[in-house]
């Protein structure tokens, strides 16, 4: 074993994962082919709300290759109800959520029947031969209308309101009463923003394979959460947990979209049990968009009170959050995750947050990158700009006046959190320097005075977020059903190689690389000598998986603790081997030595001695393996300053991003390449919310954006090059000083872009434009028209006539 020369933490290591990914050797779930495997295809409801009068499967059952056709009635006795792990209030209303609809469908795309056949082509053929007779019910789509309870999504609940969740700083003792602040304020601004519905759009469609052989159900799934999935599937199906093994092999992106216990995962399991043969289901992209959960979809009514001098005194947030038709795994909690972030980096005296969760006949919503925090950040960063306009102030200077200064940390916020560290001034200074703020302002003035058809705008977003989900006691207090700890194990192999087992479940983040760097540093072993195992409940039996920018801050810390346990035991054994007092043993770059002597034992020597166990100290167990579980005391709080310059073509409404600067403070950086990559990808998704993406249901509840031809995920040609930089104030809540970076770009960028566009056209009379800022919406706003104008993508496969000609 050789010692590492320079620290691994901070090094731009190329990823270990890439070797298989760039050569096509990747193990995606859909690659699996098991002997005797059956294929499951799902018939989905074309209507959004209906009673199922009858389902005729006789033609489908008789088709070649079809093993069985199943309906909800066939599975009613065993399918239970899909889990919702976050009952946000004691009196929250939750409908039964069958994986396969039994007598009623509540959104278009809901599963109503299954074909199990010997190959996917025959299964698809048989789907077309199932006849379902629907008795249509009135559809509930609009959030505000849903609140009137005229038509009900779930008549048995008696209302479309699922729950109302309130935080009030006066009641919590973290601030004053917001109504008092509003009543006595010199300035009160009231705005309503709409967070459009988004589709996570991970690139790998979901896929599940269940092998029921030998008393053990082995489940491969394209999931972010193998551990939670195992637990929940056991709870729902009644199959003993120790008879279920879940494997998340290579998983092609998630962004929250694979943080789910899906109907299809449960159905594959039940079908495999029934048939006694392996079963595979792989979704098409359209299925994914019709049935995988969506994100966002809120109406935000924001009231902000301030003094004329620019100090904000109070913030009142009233949200309507669209649950869709069912409560999935953490659906009700998503808007609540934003509750602590509306006050952002600012020192507000009073804060009140009221969220009403509402059922509609639409695809269920749940986690999507940022989950609650992008919504909060958007609202407050838009409001800070609105206040700047109202007071005639520079928007950055106004923010500065209100934000927490670097010498005020730790800082207890009006939302009841304690921010451990941060330096908003430093990040902002760096961003302003890279952006050339004053030159852009000059150009803006020039274009305004010359009435240039292309106007320029500058958008600011000074954000923070809460990462490292999460202290288990906090989750408990929020009525979340699980904890927020993470687990790690280190196996010291006799040849000195190291196996790391983590409870995190990467799906693109590069944990194999980063975890190796951390362990290499800690143990002084070569980076190449560390192998990271994850995503298999048989090898990694304990974990809370990957989401909420938690993996490094929580899982990485567990890893540090496990490494420290290895070293503590190794030190004792090294002292024994070197016949010295443990207090005299020093450890550096992979070797133990006796202080002041030349006596040295490498960690490898000690590992081997522990393994053969020929001569161990009294009472010491053989081996140096160690486990650790870390439960954080606090969240971590990345922050940063993003600046966006846009050009708005006032003749067409087209928006082009001219330049984008992101300065993020994510604490200590383990691998700068990976951190930059996370920021880039996050920016793309946040910009896409601002400009391009929107899931649209028509008036009957049909999703009209169910292909990539209609749901506009931007390509390379649609995005600018980003300028990224960092400042670093280490987190104090974990020994690595890390904060998390998975969601920062997405959270920060949406308001930066929208603020920028509005800054470009506000002098032309535009007050607001609803997202996404399509050219038609921008143009309509410029004409003084309603901001609501919607621009479905022109053309679109939905409009293709089946009778087209030669093509």
């Amino acid at each position: 074993m050789t010692a590492t020369a320079e620290p691994e933490v901070g090094k731009a290591r190329l990823r270990k994962e890439d070797a298989r990914l760039i050569t096509g050797q990747t193990k995606w779930t859909d690659n699996l082919q098991l002997t005797g495997m059956l294929h499951m295809a799902v018939l989905r409801s074309p209507v959004a709300h209906a009673r199922i009068r009858s389902i005729d499967c006789s033609r489908a059952t008789a088709m070649p290759g079809v093993a069985i056709v199943l309906t909800g009635e066939d599975l009613a006795a065993e399918q239970g109800s899909l889990p919702c792990a976050w009952p946000i209030t004691e009196d929250m209303l939750a409908p039964a959520a069958p994986a396969l609809a039994v007598d009623q469908v509540n959104f278009a795309g809901e599963a109503v029947a299954l074909v199990i056949a010997d190959n996917a082509y025959r299964a698809a053929d048989a789907l077309a031969a199932i006849d379902v007779d629907y008795d249509e019910l009135p559809v509930v789509l609009d959030l505000e209308e849903a609140l009137q309870d005229n038509d009900l999504v779930h008549p048995d609940l008696g209302t479309n309101k699922s729950a109302t969740w309130i935080f009030d700083s006066a009641e919590a003792g973290s601030g004053t009463n917001v109504e008092d602040e509003i009543a006595s304020a010199e300035v009160v601004l009231e705005r309503t923003f709409r967070q459009q519905r988004l589709i996570p759009s991970f690139m790998e469609p979901r896929s599940v394979v269940v092998d029921p052989s030998a008393d053990m159900f082995t489940i491969w799934s394209a999931t972010q959460i193998p551990h939670i999935l195992r637990w929940m599937l056991a709870a729902v199906s009644g199959i003993a947990e120790h008879r279920i093994r879940v494997i998340a092999p290579d998983v092609g992106g998630g962004f929250g979209g694979k943080l789910q216990v899906t109907p299809e995962e449960l159905l594959c399991l039940l079908v495999a049990r029934r048939m006694g043969r392996p079963v595979k289901w792989t979704e098409s992209r359209t299925e994914s968009m019709l049935s995988g959960h969506h994100g966002r979809d809120q109406i935000q009514k924001i009231t902000l009170s301030a003094r004329r001098d620019g100090m904000v005194t109070g913030l009142k947030v009233e949200l309507l959050a669209d649950m869709g038709a069912y409560l999935r795994l953490v659906t009700p909690g998503i808007p609540i995750l934003g509750a602590f972030m509306f006050n952002a980096i600012y020192k507000f005296a009073a804060y009140r947050f009221v969220c009403t969760n509402v059922f509609t006949n639409k695809v269920p919503t749940d986690a999507y990158r940022g989950a609650g925090r992008p919504e909060a950040t958007f609202a407050i960063e838009r409001m800070m700009d609105e206040l700047a306009v109202e007071l005639g102030r520079d928007p950055m200077e106004l923010r500065q006046q209100n934000w927490i200064k670097h010498d005020e940390f730790p800082f207890s916020t009006v939302a009841g959190l304690t921010y451990d560290s941060g330096n908003y001034e430093a990040a902002t200074d760096r961003a302003m320097e890279l952006f050339d703020y004053s030159a852009l302002r000059e150009e803006q003035a020039r274009r305004r005075s010359s009435r240039d058809p292309v106007q320029v705008g500058i958008g600011i977003s000074t954000y923070t977020e809460m990462c490292g989900l999460a202290p288990s006691r906090v989750l408990g207090a929020l009525r979340y059903a699980a904890g927020g700890w993470e687990s790690a194990s280190i196996r010291m192999l006799p040849t000195g190689k190291v196996e790391v087992i983590t409870g995190t479940s990467p799906h693109g983040q590069g944990h194999e690389t980063v975890w190796s760097q951390i362990v290499a540093d800690r143990l002084g072993v070569p980076f190449e000598d560390v192998e990271v195992l994850h995503g298999d409940t048989a090898s990694s039996h304990r974990g809370m998986d990957s989401y909420g920018s938690r993996s490094l801050a929580v899982g990485g810390t567990a890893l540090v603790h496990a490494a420290d346990k290895v070293l503590a035991k190794a030190r004792r054994l090294a002292a024994h081997m070197m016949e010295c007092d443990e207090a005299d043993v020093e450890f550096a770059t992979g070797s133990f030595s006796v202080r002041g002597t030349s006596t040295v034992r490498s960690l490898g020597d000690v590992v081997l001695a522990a393994h053969v166990a020929h001569d161990l100290p009294e009472g010491m167990e053989p081996g140096l393996d160690a486990d650790a579980t870390f439960d954080p005391d606090n969240f971590s709080f990345p922050h940063g300053t993003h600046l966006c310059a846009t050009e708005v073509d006032t003749q067409t409404g087209m928006v082009r991003i001219r330049s984008y600067v992101a300065v993020d403070d994510v604490g200590t950086v383990v691998n700068p390449l990976i951190v930059d990559g996370q920021v880039h990808g996050g920016l793309a998704q946040g910009i896409a919310q601002a400009l391009y993406e929107e899931a649209i249901h028509d008036e009957t509840g049909t999703l009209t954006t169910a292909t990539f031809a209609d749901y506009l995920v931007p390509s390379a040609a649609d995005l600018p090059a980003f300028m990224t930089a960092r400042t670093a104030t280490p987190a104090t809540s974990n020994p690595l000083g890390v904060k998390g970076v998975g969601e920062a770009g997405t959270i920060a960028s949406t308001p930066a872009v929208v603020n920028s566009v509005l800054d470009a056209v506000r002098h032309l009379g535009v007050r607001d434009i609803e997202m996404p800022l399509s050219p038609e919406r921008v143009w309509t706003a410029l004409r003084g028209g309603a901001a609501e104008a919607s621009t479905p993508a022109a053309g679109g496969l939905g409009s293709i006539d089946s009778q087209g000609g030669q093509s």
């Binding site: 760039i22 990747t26 092609g252 990559g677 880039h680 990808g681 292909t707 990539f708 090059a721 980003f722």
Partner: protein, 177 residues
Amino acid sequence: MHISVNVDGVTYADEVEPRLLLVHYLRERLGKTGTVIGCDTGNCGACTVHLDGHSVKSCQMFAVQANGHEVTTIEGLARDGKLHPVQEAFRSNHALQCGFCTPGMIMQAIDLLADESDPDDETVRKGLEGNLCRCTGYQNIVRAVQDAAQRMKPGAGPKIEQHSDEHVGSRQPVGGE
């Protein structure tokens, strides 16, 4: 229908249903699972392979249409254990995260570099407009393609997949026999 297709240098003879998509033929019949399926409409480009040296979306054609033609997939790029310069560049520039779009992205990048040996930022972005990535924001992909262009300059590496206009003019039309 009987077809004969050369895939990654090996000729396969198979009986296939006419409706079998080329990508399913590659994945299910030949076990070439390096090529993946990301959508139904030809928008995402994850399934991109080369047909007679040109990039195509293998979910947008039938296996029978590849009869008598040559297909190259991501699995056929490395030569003698050495990665293709574009593969190397993707790794060196952290141009992938989850990696699902990567095979298609690499195959399209190779095609792009065959037409444009030293592309600027905009040319790369335009050349990749048929390939969606949800992880990287494309920044490092663009960088990787430009890096690969340097690696592939005459004398800088093996001359793979490059073709001239003459070659284009004389190439076999695709289709059945």
